[in-house]
């Protein structure tokens, strides 16, 4: 078996290792899966990932795993280009397609994929064939310590816990000194404390190495917990990128809106533009409710989607007067339920709105199902979302 290029470690290599700049991953990937009509899937993404954590967020089926597999070389794109720093690992134009075993990529699977017949230590040594024994021992020792799994070295994967297995899987990838680390929902099955301890150890490790870490998740909580740069993927396209708070502040895409907690998303049509007032009238699709939203660059008659956070909706038991809010909608409480100190009311106004209240507000208003109420929504709480691309 060949030694990976640039992977035999010597003292000269160690110097290069410390002197090296941060690695940048640049990827443009196009891949089409033809299924029966309607089930075909096309991925078309283009992004750059700097050193440090980047989260690839999207719901299942959005193309997250295919993107990782294409970067790793487990899946061959139809077209595109993948660059790791200056190293071209895939280019359809010049027919470059570096084999998966020579890409220098670290990949951690959701279920760890440890070799069940090998001990923890031998799992970690797996990718170090061709590295001199002394160097190999040193590296394995270091990584066992960094990830606090030294005590498990001689155990088999089946007798250690799920969290420990993921630590071993991480160590097994990182010990080969990859140029990039791809994590496919690696911590999805773990509880929050175990998760954050592993992430802390990974961050500590990467403060020295400075490689890009692409972290795939479909969990909104994980995005906020990690709080790093996020790429939002939807139906095979990158629809937003930036820091979570920036992406979420003005969500224009539905996946982003769901990420930001927009419980109310409606199909709507632009009924009228009021340029002097800075607003426009949207007609919500089921229910024909008129909503005033901030003026945007759309044409009258255009189909749009409007997102409203459940926490941005006020609720009154009498018709309100003297309000600055432009939108007052009459409706009936369909259901009301309390969970974790939050009260969620479903109000039917023709369309169903989710409204978030405090238990105190519920008690003082004496809210119950069947009651007549008025919803109040500020113009600026109505966010125009770009409808999901139909392809």
């Amino acid at each position: 078996m060949g030694v990976r290029e640039g992977r035999t470690l010597s003292s000269a290599d160690d110097e290069r290792e410390t002197a090296r700049n941060e690695i940048l991953l640049e990827a443009a990937i196009r891949k089409r899966y033809a299924g029966s009509p309607g089930s075909s899937f096309s991925l078309d993404v283009r992004f750059a990932v700097p050193a440090g954590f980047t989260i690839l967020f999207g719901r299942s089926g959005a193309g997250k795993t295919t993107t990782l597999e294409a970067i790793a070389g487990l899946v061959k794109p139809d077209a595109g280009k993948i660059l790791l720093e200056e190293r071209l690992v895939y280019d359809s134009a010049s027919r470059v397609n570096v084999d998966v075993s020579h890409r220098g990529v670290g990949y951690v699977f959701q279920d760890s994929a440890l070799f069940p017949h090998l001990t923890v230590e031998r799992n970690i040594r797996y990718g170090l064939r061709g590295v001199p024994e002394i160097e190999r021992k040193k590296r394995v020792g270091e990584i066992l310590e960094s990830f606090r799994i030294g005590a498990l070295a001689l155990r088999l994967p089946r007798v250690i816990s799920a969290g420990e297995r993921q630590r071993v899987a991480l160590a097994r990838s990182l010990v080969t000194r990859p140029d990039i680390l791809l994590l496919d929902e690696p911590l999805a099955a773990l509880d929050a404390p175990a998760k954050s301890r592993i992430v802390e150890d990974l961050r500590a490790w990467n403060r020295v190495r400075r490689i890009p870490i692409l972290y795939v998740t479909h969990s909104r909580e994980e995005v906020f917990a990690l709080g790093e740069r996020v790429l939002v993927i939807e139906r095979g396209r990158i629809v937003a990128e930036g820091l979570p708070q920036d992406v979420l502040e003005a969500p224009r895409e539905e996946t982003v809106a769901q990420l930001a907690g927009f419980e109310n998303i409606f199909d709507a049509r632009i009924a009228a533009l009021h340029e002097e007032a800075g607003t426009m009238t949207c007609l919500l699709n089921p229910g024909a409710i008129e909503i005033e939203a901030p003026l945007a660059r759309v044409e009258t008659g255009a189909a749009v989607r409007v997102g409203i956070r459940a926490g941005d909706v006020l609720l009154a038991t009498e018709p309100p007067r003297g309000l600055s809010a432009r939108n007052v909608i009459e409706g009936t409480i369909e259901a009301i339920e309390e969970r974790d100190f939050r009260v969620l009311a479903r109000v039917n106004c023709g369309a169903t709105f989710a409204v978030l209240l405090t238990p105190a507000a519920r008690r003082s208003l004496g809210l119950a199902a069947g009651q007549r109420v008025w919803l109040i929504v500020k113009t600026h709480s109505c966010h125009l979302l770009r409808p999901a691309a139909q392809d």
Binding site: S101, R103, F115, P116, Y126, R129, R158, S173, T176
Partner: protein
Amino acid sequence: MNWQALELTLRLSCLTAAILIVLALPVAYWVAYSRRRWKFLVQALASLPLVMPPTVLGFYVLVAFGSSSPLGRLWQHWTGHTLAFTFAGLVVGSVFYSFPFAVQPLVNSFLAIDPKLIDASRVLGASRLATFFRVILPLSASGVATAIALTFAHTFGEFGVVLMVGGDIPGVTRTISIDVFDQVQAGNYAAANVTSLVLLAVSFLILAAIYAWNRRAWPRAPWA
């Protein structure tokens, strides 16, 4: 008890099992992992000896290696004699006859391995060949054991192919099953009884060993 026949049968079974495991590993790997459209044809071909009468299979081996076929002439050129009625002929016939018994357990074992483990190995820098020897084969230990034991046992008790290809030459092609046939033909029921019992016992021991081994084999994902 015809010890010569027993020795010959054991030799034939060992040799057949050894040849088959070498031949079947690459074929099973291909059947398990190939995405070719015409894979089904290879699968059907590899399973054909299961449904063919041994006499038919033996007949074709005779024809294929007869002095009028190119293959037979090549064999004659190399060895100086025809394949029919020789020990080598028995081996060739047995290899064909037991082929599915070697391939199928291996295919099943390969397919039971989590494909993620193969991906993980490749990402860690291992070539396809290295992945085969370091991950696939160790995790298929039970399949390999089953394949060896089944081909051994199947060859041990075979009759039709041996009779067609090898005939009944003591010390050369007379196996236990043929010996039993001869003894019955000669009305020598006591001798047939002893030989049959030996055949039965050896077959049972082999099958028991397979199942004992498989009981403690690696499950696919021990923690899942």
